[in-house]
Amino acid sequence: MDGHFRAFSFVDRITRPGGQVRGLYQIPSGIAEFPIALVAEACGQLSAWTAMAAYDFKLRPVAGIAPVIELLAPVHPGQVLELESDIESLDAEAVSYNSLAKVDGTPVLRLQHCVGPMVSVEEFDDPQALKQRFDLICGAGAAPGAFNGIPPLDMKFTGLEPGASARATLHVPATADFFADHFPRRPVFPGTLFMHKVLELAARVAEGVPLPAPNTAWVPRNINDSKLRAFMAPGGSLEFEVRLAKQAGNELTIRVEAKKENRITGHSRIVFIAEELA
């Protein structure tokens, strides 16, 4: 089955187009999980639709910079994401936006001051197909339920010092359904799947940090200063370096860097808060 607009598309409807765009996405019920990183993807896609429409689908943004991502609550299959994006600025070079995702009116994720560099659409996708899709999601809406979940991603630890540091290698799959949608003419490993693995890695290091109080756990609450410097093509591998950067009281910061052939391709700082177990 053609994965275009199915395998990695997370906006079913745009209920209010424009600079303060609003939209919806129904998380399919039949999948095992919907990682919080994909909520960020949904927000980014909502903003991307606005940016593309403004340039008649000749330009589109790609993931670039996310200074602040607040992880407010997990989401679950079957829930409906209520998406809001406010475009701060948009020109031929970049789009800047703030986004908020909610479930039943409760915020689950917030993005602040995200920046997406603009690139030529033709290199990545069919402008006409994008325009038709935009018309659909601004009108009747896309049929929900197309997303089948993320396939297992091959990541192996090559070093782990709990509470201090870790090294891991992620083998970007050579083929995957999501490449048909991200993007049809130039498959690129999604930045939000990179974010998903970054959170996993950071959590493994955080596990080993002594908790400040009993009956608490380290919970990731912020992803700060995230930047993607290069596209990750199918079939490559990324080397991750993770280290505890700071710990103060009930808060710790884990820094993650990804390299490909010794060049830094991405980095983030993840902030964990020690929170009482439910």
């Binding site: 670039g64 020109d91 070079e93 800047s96 001051h113 560099p117 200063d225 930047k227 410097r229 860097e257």
Partner: protein, 146 residues
Amino acid sequence: MTNEIITQEEINAIYSKVADIIADALGCDVETVMPKASLINDLGAESIDFLDIIFRLEREFKVKIPRGKIVEAARGHLSEAEFENAGIITEAGMARVREFLSEVPADRLNSPQKYAEIPKLFTTETFCKLVIRRQRATAAGEAPAA
């Protein structure tokens, strides 16, 4: 862009904030962000970092910095043909660059200078001057160029 003389005192007034922003954007220690450091050659900045730095400067200093126009600003009143020829900055263009980028050490401002490599000349102080020019333009009620 307004291009009057900018004093060292003006640069010093905002330097630490600009250096912090550059350090945060590049993920490096602020101690490595020296006034004369070339962001590209010394600090490893790439185009995505320039975008990041510009947006951060805009938020911090409440100014609007026209994107994609920083290199064009170095050209000043010269026409494109007067400024560069076949990708190389002309003599008149280099005189203009030396004036506009007066904070760049003279030994880096050599001919032949490729137009495309002008960003390699930009230092921490260059971005300080960029902010100051935009602050002056904002105060004068000038809209940023499209």
